[in-house]
């Protein structure tokens, strides 16, 4: 009995694949997509309005898949992020077994599970600053649900959120 308890409380050791061993980032040919810059709302544009966001929408012509990004303040960045997201989606669709998206998410889950385990063990030793910032991002997610009348929140996919987290 005692033995059993001990076993279940220490999780089996898992081998997490290295981050640099992930499948390569897929790319997408410019000829395969249509790009649109989405201007929300009405108004006359130009000098009369000062927008802080810059939404980029990509349509994959062959499949009709549409992705958008307005995660950063930079239109150039959003264009890059949208292309990355679309390429990942397409790869996932065409070759799920070797999809970078799936493998990266799986790895993230493993990392998270390991982290949770470690967090329990030595919570205090975690780098304080980093954790605080992650908590703040978690906080943002919680806010998603405060206003039920608002439009559903579009998180710009896990990838770009992870990326933003890295920039923080």
């Amino acid at each position: 009995m005692l033995r059993l308890i001990r076993l279940s409380s220490s999780l089996p050791k898992v081998n997490i694949p290295k981050a640099n061993k992930m499948p390569a980032r897929p790319t997408i040919a410019e000829g395969d997509i249509k790009e649109k810059f989405i201007k929300g709302g009405s108004g006359k544009g130009g000098q009369k309005i000062n927008k802080t966001n810059s939404k980029v929408q990509l349509t994959h012509i062959a499949t009709g898949i549409v992705v958008t990004s307005q995660a950063t303040r930079s239109r150039e960045q959003n264009r890059k992020i949208a292309r990355e997201i679309l390429a990942l989606k397409l790869q996932d669709l065409e070759d799920p077994a070797n999809s970078r998206q799936r493998i990266v998410i799986e790895r993230q889950k493993m990392v998270k599970a390991r982290k949770n385990k470690r967090t329990k063990a030595k919570y205090e030793t975690l780098e304080k600053n980093k954790q605080e910032k992650e908590d703040l991002l978690e906080g943002i997610d919680e806010i998603v649900f405060i206003d039920e009348n608002s439009e559903p929140i579009q998180i710009d996919t896990k990838q770009s959120k992870q990326k933003l987290l890295k920039q923080l």
């Binding site: 006359k44 544009g45 130009g46 000098q47 239109r75 150039e76 943002i140 929140i153 933003l164």
Partner: protein
């Protein structure tokens, strides 16, 4: 370390402060995210109040605006670069990529964003930015300095008054400009101009109409002997009027922005290189006819 619950509560508090300046909750979430990413935590609350309660433009709070691959410093007294402007600059760069070396005058340069966009994307360009405001000239110079590592072409800014003839007999191949184009009677109307713009951005940068386009043509476009010009406009009428000031050696057309609003008047002389002509024509949706 704050407990996660407390953090969420503080986030909600900040978000509420921001909300009046944002159309949607998602937009407020984005702005909060950017504030928290770019400013130290002790400034978050004040920033959210400045933005939400006082409607201060986010770019004045954060101190910058990305414009293409350029980072433009922003501060009160100088117009914040718009993404409608960024859009035509990116098309313009594609027109001139790979062509011979050419010179550009960016009249009413403000923060220097258009001039810098060209000079960072094109190595075959020499740009001169001109503005009447000393605040603009200083900021544009700072922006040149901030971006010096990515500048490929040549760039300079100088004091210039649109309503005075071009000094000396300077020649340019291309004239570009985003001049003040909001007519006086529209400037005060809240259904025309966003409140935050009216409250914080300089009137000098916004107010103008047909006389601006007249000065542009008679003092700059014609004397500089340029072959191509592209001007941002606020109405179709401003484009048609610009056309009326030029003779038949010019092809003059209208460009719409991505929201299908009249955004530019584009002109070129018929004797320019045909590849440039072709590319310019693809950005033009309709030719202005010279009315007699």
């Amino acid at each position: 370390m704050p407990r996660p619950g407390a953090v969420a509560k503080y986030q909600r508090f900040l978000l509420k402060k921001l909300l009046p300046a944002c159309n949607t909750l998602q937009q407020a979430r984005r702005e909060l995210f950017w504030i928290q990413k770019e400013l130290p935590s002790e400034q978050w609350k004040q920033a959210c109040i400045q933005r939400g309660r006082h409607l201060m433009p986010l770019q004045y709070i954060l101190g910058n605006q990305p414009f293409g691959s350029v980072n433009i410093k922003c501060r009160p007294g100088v117009l914040i670069p718009r993404n409608d402007t960024e859009e035509w600059c990116s098309e313009l760069v594609d027109v001139f990529r790979g062509s011979d070396t050419f010179s550009v005058l960016d009249m009413c340069t403000g923060s220097g964003c258009i001039a810098l966009y060209l000079a960072t994307e094109l190595s075959n360009v020499t740009v001169l930015g001109g503005d009447i405001s000393q605040d603009c000239i200083s900021l544009a110079n700072e922006n040149i300095d901030v971006n010096k590592d990515i500048i490929k072409g040549k760039i300079k800014v100088d004091s210039m008054d649109l309503f005075q003839p071009l000094a000396g007999d300077k020649k340019f191949d291309v004239v570009v400009s985003n001049p003040p184009y909001i007519p006086t009677h529209e400037l005060e109307k809240q259904e025309e101009v966003e409140k935050s713009v009216r409250l914080y951005e300089p009137r000098l940068a916004l107010e103008g109409d047909l006389p601006v386009f007249k000065a542009m043509v008679t003092y700059y476009i014609i004397p500089s002997q340029c072959k191509v010009f592209i001007l941002e406009i606020g109405s179709r009428e401003q484009g048609q009027y610009t056309r009326s000031l030029l003779d038949e050696s010019w092809v003059v057309g209208l460009r719409l922005d991505s929201a299908f609003r009249p955004r530019n008047v584009i002109g070129f002389r018929t004797d320019i290189e045909s590849s440039i002509k072709r590319k310019l024509m693809t950005t033009i949706i309709e030719l202005f006819k010279k009315q007699r």
